[in-house]
């Protein structure tokens, strides 16, 4: 197996970036060598199983652990009441978005009431996972059921309370309304208005690897090593210290190979805290591995919003104001960043458009369902969906093509850096360029002609074409901005680069990859600047003992923050190495250039010293400039000055079976601009996966609850994660518009596919349905939903005809 697809000889700076280097992560993953939490086997390890609520909402009348405790292999069993004094602090929410936000006390094991199906009520520890599971099933819990609260508008009415002690189901209302008078004036003067209600259904993140945690106590030192399938080892360590009372200095958190997260592992979970506390009590290693069926109820879910969006436009279709009101589903409790998710979208409802007036308001409510939290895109797909669906409705209202309405409203290239009405400053963008490229690849006019032909002929299979032009904000985040939004932590990232005496390089990063390919990409960033081969560079991550500083991986932040930190730390090391090289070559530092891994004196190419030799000199310290410290190591804690703003245009082509209501996605064109690309292969992979998740929201996935709060789609038979057979080969391309706010010119690409795709697909489906009188449709666009919408529109048309 060869490690590179297109080997680039290292040489001058800039030779490695932008090459399609194969991911060095993949051989161990593909051969099964990589270790996930469940692969780590320790002798004497105990197994934890949870007893979960079988009702959505209720008072716990009794928990009978007796039958479980007497079963073979069972070591201990605890109810929530048994452990209620074990916690130093409740489960954390790091984003109290307003000063008056309401948040119920959330403990790892419920004590008096349960608030969602799957809420943990008791814990069983046994010698094997089989014994633990059987014993958990033997625990008898009696509940006094309370009414389920499932529908957001019903939750808002406070008819039934999720948490009686709060007195209301509303957690908070958050507003962004820089000039309400201007908004109202624009609507009063508008030639066209559009008013839409969109529903973001709940989604189950469905990472390929479920969650898992293994806690290893070191009894004589009082220390704990915590292995967790997490995106956030650094944040988890701090939160474990706070919730368990164990000093931070006694905790080491390691995220081994982690099989995807999509935001669902950007959290601090009951099982992690519980496993630490039980390992402390029982003084033995404890392991918990989530079952797939637990994953659908006990791991956070995504989305869950009702969006009201109003557009005002002049007679030419130029948008003059946008007004947004959200109702957001928090679920039963506030998890780590639950309340902040709608805020991450709040700044983006103006989309790629030059909009002069804007107001936004979000009210968030508790329901008796699994807590929601960040899911791929977190707020930004929701915002993009609303504006990109609404602008299609505006195009229909004005009577112009969806492409034309976008052109009339784009922020133009010459307006960058662009100060948006929502308060952001977009770094760079060429929105029309990406649109043109996508139209060109799609053969847009040809598609419209074919669509017209099929409509004319009344064919059973009708075409729909949907466009979505998006922008998003990545690179979370300037710490002061997070502070102004009441987020508890900062948004910096740390990197350390070491040149070792043998000429090898270590890059230590505070990001925590779980599928993104940081080992490959960070090595490329350092190699490019060091003019070395990436093969000589090791990337160390996801272990708080080896990479003590970090803010971890989520929100497409890793490259524009963590990757930039690697670049800056590499530059710092090179600066020091240059001083040493100049000393060795008896030349001026500014006369040295670094090529092919050696410093050379400009104009005297024979006067050179290799980086490895410099590193050995730094290590031996026999002949360093006066006053210089030994070794070649530099650290950077980088706080980005701004977000970055990727953009693009996606086009979906669907075929509608008008007899059955079934839609097939025939073609999918994605033109994405994420600034400079470190590795286009990885960019494409991120775009592909992202598109699938967005298409899946549009067409297939929904966490469906009945009125009693039971999850009806609790298995992967009923929750429709698509496979390759449901999707066409994507036609991807990019434009490259570098960011101007970081040294790499990069923007981030982890979520772009998801952000662009759901509206493109839904616009295409509504486009296919428009000749049948259907003007809107909720996600997911199931065949039955489409069939019913067509039947209803047909019945209405008939009634109008008869009237």
């Amino acid at each position: 197996m060869t490690a590179t697809e297109a080997t680039t000889a290292p040489g001058s700076a800039g030779a490695v970036l932008g090459t399609r280097r194969l991911r060095t992560e993949d051989p161990p993953l593909l051969t099964g060598e990589s270790l996930f939490v469940a692969d780590i086997k320790l002798s004497g390890c105990l197994h934890l199983a949870l007893v979960r609520s079988t009702v959505a909402h209720g008072r716990i009348l009794s928990v009978d652990l007796g039958p479980a405790k007497s079963m073979p292999g069972v070591v201990a069993a605890f109810s929530g009441a048994d452990l209620k004094d074990a916690w130093a602090a409740p489960m954390p929410c790091a984003w109290p978005v307003t000063a008056d936000m309401l948040s119920p006390t959330h403990l790892p094991l419920a004590v008096e009431t349960v608030a969602y199906l799957g809420d943990a009520v008791a814990a069983v520890v046994a010698e094997s996972e089989y014994a633990a599971r059987d014993a958990a099933d033997a625990v008898v819990v009696e509940y006094d059921p309370l009414p389920a609260v499932i529908h957001l508008e019903d939750a808002l009415s406070d008819r039934n309370l999720v948490h009686e002690e709060l007195g209301t189901n509303s957690s908070y209302t958050w507003e962004l309304s820089p000039d309400p008078v201007a908004v109202e004036a624009a609507f009063a003067a508008a030639a066209h208005t559009v008013s839409k209600r969109y529903v973001q259904q709940r989604l189950i993140p469905s990472a390929m690897e479920p969650r898992g945690v293994l806690v290893v106590p070191h009894p004589y030192g009082g220390e704990y090593t915590v292995y967790s399938a997490t995106q956030i080892p650094h944040i988890l360590k701090i939160m474990l210290a706070i919730t368990t009372g164990i000093p931070e200095t006694s905790l080491r958190v390691i995220a081994p190979s982690v099989g995807g997260g999509f935001g669902s592992k950007l959290n601090v979970y009951a099982e992690e805290i519980l496993a630490v506390v039980l390992a402390q009590r029982l003084r033995r290693p404890i392991r918990w591995v989530e079952e797939r069926s637990e994953n659908s109820v006990a791991t956070i879910q995504g989305r869950g919003q009702i969006q009201h969006i109003d557009l005002a436009a002049d007679s030419g279709g130029k948008i003059t104001a946008i007004r947004v009101k959200l109702l957001a589903d928090m679920g039963a409790y506030l998890q780590l960043v639950t309340p902040g998710v709608p805020l991450l979208g709040a700044f983006l409802y103006t989309g790629v458009y030059d909009v002069p007036a804007y107001s936004f308001s979000c009210t968030s409510v508790f329901t008796t369902m699994t807590p929601t939290d960040a899911y791929r895109g977190a707020g930004r797909p929701e915002a993009t969906y609303a504006i990109e669906r609404a602008i299609d409705a505006l195009a229909a209202e004005v009577g112009v093509d969806p492409v034309e309405i976008r052109r009339r409203n784009f922020v133009r290239e010459e307006q960058f850096p662009y100060a948006s009405v929502a308060g952001l400053v977009y770094d760079t963008g060429r929105y029309a360029l990406a649109l043109d490229k996508a139209l060109d690849i799609a053969g847009y006019q040809g598609l419209r002609d074919e669509q017209a032909r099929r409509r004319q002929a009344g064919e059973t299979k009708q075409l729909g074409i949907g466009v979505s032009s998006y922008m998003e904000m990545c690179g979370l985040a300037p710490s002061r901005v997070l502070g102004s939004l009441n987020y508890t932590a900062g948004g910096w990232e740390a990197a350390t680069v070491r040149l070792l005496p043998t000429g090898k390089v270590q890059v230590v990063t505070g990001t925590s990859p779980h599928g993104q390919g940081h080992e490959t990409a960070w090595a490329m960033i350092a190699a490019d600047r060091l003019t070395m081969s990436p093969d000589d560079i090791e990337v160390i991550h996801s272990d708080t003992a080896m990479a003590p500083y970090g803010m971890d991986t989520y929100g497409s932040r890793s490259l524009p923050v963590g990757g930039v930190a690697v670049a800056l730390a590499t530059d710092k090391v090179i600066d020091k190495a240059r001083e040493i090289a100049a000393h060795l070559l008896e030349a001026a530092a500014e006369d040295l250039e670094l090529t092919d891994g050696s410093f050379r004196v400009k104009g005297s190419p024979t006067m050179e010293v290799a980086l490895g030799a410099v590193a050995f000199e730094a290590f031996s310290a026999h002949n360093l400039p006066d006053g210089m410290e030994p070794n070649l190591e530099a650290s950077v804690h980088y706080d980005p000055p701004n977000f970055s703003f990727p953009f693009g245009t996606h086009i979906a082509v669907v075929e509608l079976d008008t007899d059955t209501g079934q839609v097939r996605l025939n073609r999918y064109i994605a033109v994405d601009d994420c600034g400079n690309q470190v590795n286009p292969l990885i960019v494409e992979g991120q775009v592909h996966g992202g598109i699938v998740q967005g298409v899946a929201q549009a067409m297939w996935e929904e966490a469906l609850y009945d009125d009693d709060g039971n999850l009806l789609t609790s298995t992967m038979i009923d929750y429709l994660v698509p496979a390759a057979s449901e999707l066409p080969s994507f036609e991807t391309a990019s434009t490259i518009t570098p960011s101007t706010t970081n040294v790499l010119g990069v923007k981030g690409v982890g979520e772009a596919g998801t952000i662009g795709s759901a509206p493109a697909v839904m616009n295409a489906i509504v486009d296919a349905l428009s000749p049948f009188g259907v003007t809107d449709l909720d996600m997911p666009a199931t065949p039955e939903r489409i069939w019913r919408a067509m039947a209803q529109a047909s019945a209405m048309a008939q009634a109008e005809g008869e009237a």
């Binding site: 099933d137 069926s293 007899d659 059955t660 429709l720 698509p722 449901e726 039955e784």
Partner: protein, 273 residues
């Protein structure tokens, strides 16, 4: 996803399997490819106390030409049925449907007998058996008996198999060039059909439905209409006559009725009614 504990017994002959089933009593289950039973056990929806594994009885994996019919051993895997030249030539409907089940992993583990004996109304192969008027061979302590497919499926996941009987062979009449169609409507290729239709035109018509009742069923209204000379469209209007299709998260009964009408029409058009 962890099943309850159970006793595992591996049979080394058909006779031994029948004996083990008898010894196991009411809570014994046969294990073949495991693709129907094991998911239910992992969800603890089924908790048999004894599993009798017949997976290594290779003598029950075969396709034989029986003159006017093809005999397919119950332990023949879907992939082998799908790839069999003789099945493709003599009963192409069966070869086609076997290639539509689940995904490649499922087709290389699941067996034709396991799928039919499970009696799931959402499975494709029972509909093929019905449409083709196949005959099933059942072996028990007192010998072998033959049961017509149209008498085999007796209720939800219930069949004419006695608890100590093993389905050993399925006999499909050769199609002899008759035209056929299989319409499978689903959202993901790997899924069970929301509604499916198996149709064959061989002088008279055989039309059977997937997922339109509590058990695999014939579209008797369609068959009768065709016998009376109806057009495909007219006959399709009878697709759900006398049936109570299920309502679940995939589809309502009402939508299934509509789909059955569309799919039966398409099947009959394709089969050249």
């Amino acid at each position: 996803m962890i099943p309850s504990s159970f006793e595992y017994r591996r049979a080394s002959s058909l006779a031994e399997a029948i004996t083990m089933l008898g010894e196991g009593g009411d809570d014994a289950k046969l294990l073949a490819g495991g693709h129907s039973l094991l998911p239910l056990m992992k969800l603890r929806l089924a908790s048999p106390t004894v599993l009798v594994d017949i997976g290594r009885l290779r003598e029950l994996s075969y396709v034989r030409d029986g003159g006017d019919h093809l005999a397919v051993g119950a332990l023949t895997r879907h992939a082998d049925v799908h790839n069999s030249d003789v099945v493709g030539r003599e009963v192409p409907l069966l070869a086609h449907v076997a290639g539509q089940i689940g995904d490649p992993q499922v087709r290389h583990r699941g067996t034709i007998g396991g799928s039919i004996a499970h009696g799931d109304p959402a499975s494709d192969l029972p509909a093929v058996c019905l449409a083709l008027r196949a005959t099933l061979l059942l072996a028990g302590p007192s010998g072998e008996r033959q049961v017509p497919a149209i008498e085999f499926f007796t209720g939800f996941l219930e069949t004419a198999l006695a608890r100590d009987e093993v389905l050993t062979e399925i006999r499909f009449p050769k199609l002899g060039g008759a035209r056929w169609s299989f319409q499978k409507f689903n959202v993901r290729a790997q899924d069970w059909a929301i509604v499916g239709v198996a149709a064959v035109r061989n002088g008279s018509a055989g039309v059977a439905l997937v997922n339109m009742a509590d058990r695999p069923v014939l579209a008797t209204g369609v068959e009768a209409a065709l016998a009376a000379g109806a057009s495909p469209e007219e006959a399709a209007a009878h697709a759900s006559d006398g049936l109570e299709p299920p309502s679940d998260v995939r589809a309502s009964g009402e939508y299934r009725r509509h789909l059955a009408t569309v799919l039966v029409r398409r099947a009959l058009e394709e089969a050249g009614a």
